[in-house]
Amino acid sequence: MSQPTPEVYEQGKGMDAHNRAMREIRARREESYDPHEPTRVWVDEDNTPEGVMESLTIILNTGGCRWARAGGCTMCGYVAESVEGGSVSHDALMDQIQVCLDHEAEEADEPADLIKIYTSGSFLDEREVGARSRKAIADAFADRERIVVESLPDFVEREKIADFTGHGLDTDVAVGLETATDRVRQDCVNKYFEFADFEDACAEAAVADAEADATAGIKAYLLMKPPFLAEPEAVADMISSIERCSEVPGCHTVSMNPCNVQRYTMVDDLHFRDGYRPPWLWSVAHVLEETADADAIVVSDPVGHGSDRGAHNCGECDDRVQTAIKDFDLRQDPSVFEQVSCDCEATWDAVMSLETGYNQPLVR
């Protein structure tokens, strides 16, 4: 009714608009980055199907996301951190790995069992990370227990996963699904694959898993509250997305992350004009509680929690709720949320019952 033209045409029209807008927004950036340095690297601990492990997280600078060059996702500013010119040589990539290993040697007592590699693109896209580099990186971490690499679902192929499982590395491919709802992924996030593609990637991982001694699976990354969704809509979208993901064979973990406001994004423009507020931490807690029975590990890592640009509550309870969320990540026990309360839950209740597409954000 609301779309007089065919759905496909509408989608294309929306995509063109989003991309034009995002190209204009991204063009405002001026920084460029050294291709011999990773974007970021840190040590932490993580919940995996094999339990909690020490982890080394690497944001590899691979020249950035191809989709972002066209315009890309409305909330993603990582492309702004990518290298100028757009491609990084094999040698430079290996330099970045060395920097990460040096960092780990300095910061951690012993090598982490879990390696996580994100690229602000697709690690398995050979235009970003060539087969030679992929294999070399697999070699570099062959002595670890587990590895996570990030990729769009199109590039998930059993042979590529085998590069890692072949070393006995349990391998997870992190897929930025954002939401199981195709409409929200396309119109709000401007990401153009479908849930069916995600299911196909999970199936590839399942085959890779069956074909190797080590395990292989998919870790779905979800985005809570993309632009244009009101708080209750965003919460409902996450609950149904987690339920749907957990039902897909091959998907063993869901990482549900609240949208934060990154520079040079459409979300930043909306936020600047009082048109966007990141989700409440209560919303994150609520979704985790509601989906505690789902047949997958469900975790969340609110970035910039408690700040105006990250998921936040009233300012008083943000750290306590964040702690409960991190606790839930490790234990998967929803009773952690019974330990935290705050007066601002009443405000969150009001937002959940009153916020709509024509009054958001109701409370800052």
Partner: protein
Amino acid sequence: MTDYFEVHARDGPARLGELRLDPPLATPATVGDRLADAGSLWADEREVPEGSEGELTVLPHRGLPGGTPEEVRESFSVEYPDVEYPSAAVISSASPEAHAVDAYLLSDGQSIVGHGASFVSGIVSVREALQPDTLLVLSGVATPRNVATLVYAGVDAVDAARATAEGTRGRYLTTEGDRRLSDLEELPCACPACRTPVEEFTRADCAEHNENALRAELAVVRQRIREGRLRDYVEGQARHDQWLTATMRELDDRWGYIEERAPILREAEMTAATGDTIRRPEIRRYADRVTTRYRNRFENPLVLVPCSARKPYSESKSHGRFHDAIGWRAHLVSMTSPMGVVPQELETTYPAQQYDTVVTGRWTEEETAFVARVLRRYLERNEYPEIVAHVPTEGYREIVERVESDLALDVTYTVPEGAHPTDESSLENLAEALAGELKYSKREREHNTVRAIADYLLGDGAGDDLFPDLRTTGRYPKLQVRDGDDTQLATMVPRYGTLSFTLEGARRWVESSVPTKRVEIDSFTPHGSVLAPGVVSADEGIRVGDEVVIEGPRAFAVGRAEMFGREMEGSTRGVACEVRHVEEQ
């Protein structure tokens, strides 16, 4: 098409309306509990809802919050279906578009509220883009403090979402403030929620109080609109938040928007108690007309006098004494802030008769400059054989001296330094200054009054064009206007100094070279009133309260406008004009 909303009364951009649901609702009001949200198309596909007569159905929408890039707004704009039940569309003030709905909700209210310039620019562009008789709703922004100004700007309805949410945050809202609950030593309110002792007062109570305070303020606003006195209220109340005062001022600068909606007459008092009164559209319109349309027809000297608190001036004690000294030997023009100058013929004209100012004798530089500007323009247009300024030293004399020097005039001052104009010595000077002058007749006075009012209402020269062979009967100020054959053409309306025409007078107007304020109607003969759907076209210059000629294939009539011209053309409901006389043809 607006089937479910009707505007019953206007007070500038503010409207008193009726949301014709089952049961109906008087607006401005909170409508949150009467909305049925069919949901966002961002989140899901939606069917056209079944709707009901009891609710305003918000059709499936895509809210475009503030900051949404233009191309995204364009490509995700929604085509709203034309449905049979009360319906609302969600639109952005950045790219407002009309749809076949009864009401509109803004998706970017949060971005425009809180900043005067953005808010005014948003509301004005929305109002200009939409059908005039549609309900404009702002959700999630209204507070007891801001709602009067929201309505003053042209918002018809709000909801209590913001007031409720703020209550849950422990923010106690009043028409004059926004406080932390913990900072209150007592509850400054007597609503049911506030009967709890302050120590036991919870955030839930606070949310309830906030809603009560919002509803009570809306009732005040509705009453003010009924009285035609919302601006008087806002001038004071908006002082409690800077952006609200900024909004009122920004609106004063939107001449096209604010003047079109300002009535040409009101029975209500106009309070002139702040420096902002001088920028009211009614005041500026008066100052403009008195210096571009009005023309003095007397050949006697000019006497400038101070205004009086009592209106019309001629009924005041002080003016009675001036009159005794002058004795119809001079043309009397009152100087006043915030009106500027009021020639004696226009003393009953709105708002000269209706304003009530604060009298302290202290003039601000802005008042002085304004009155001087009006007086200068007045004297540039009107020549007198002699000018007498019978004004006090304070304020008035300085203004006259300024203009005297600017225009190289020679003014006689008759009030001695430090004396009052009603002092014997002053009055003696005044009488002496007019020694030897001849009196003008009652006939001349009455004719000049009628013609001056015609000039003021209808345009420069209208008084001469319309009434070349004028006769007046009756007793001032209830004059009857007749032609040489004794046919009555019009009556002077003393309450606001207008003329109401007879059918003969209306014919004379149509045949004259004076631009007619004409409403063209369909083929019917109106009795009592002309409803908006019957209007085929209407002169864009028509303002609420204007005398209008109503013409159609089956009728020639004269009456008074209840809407402004474009509103008559664009509305599908409501009374466009009240008919006074009609002739079938």
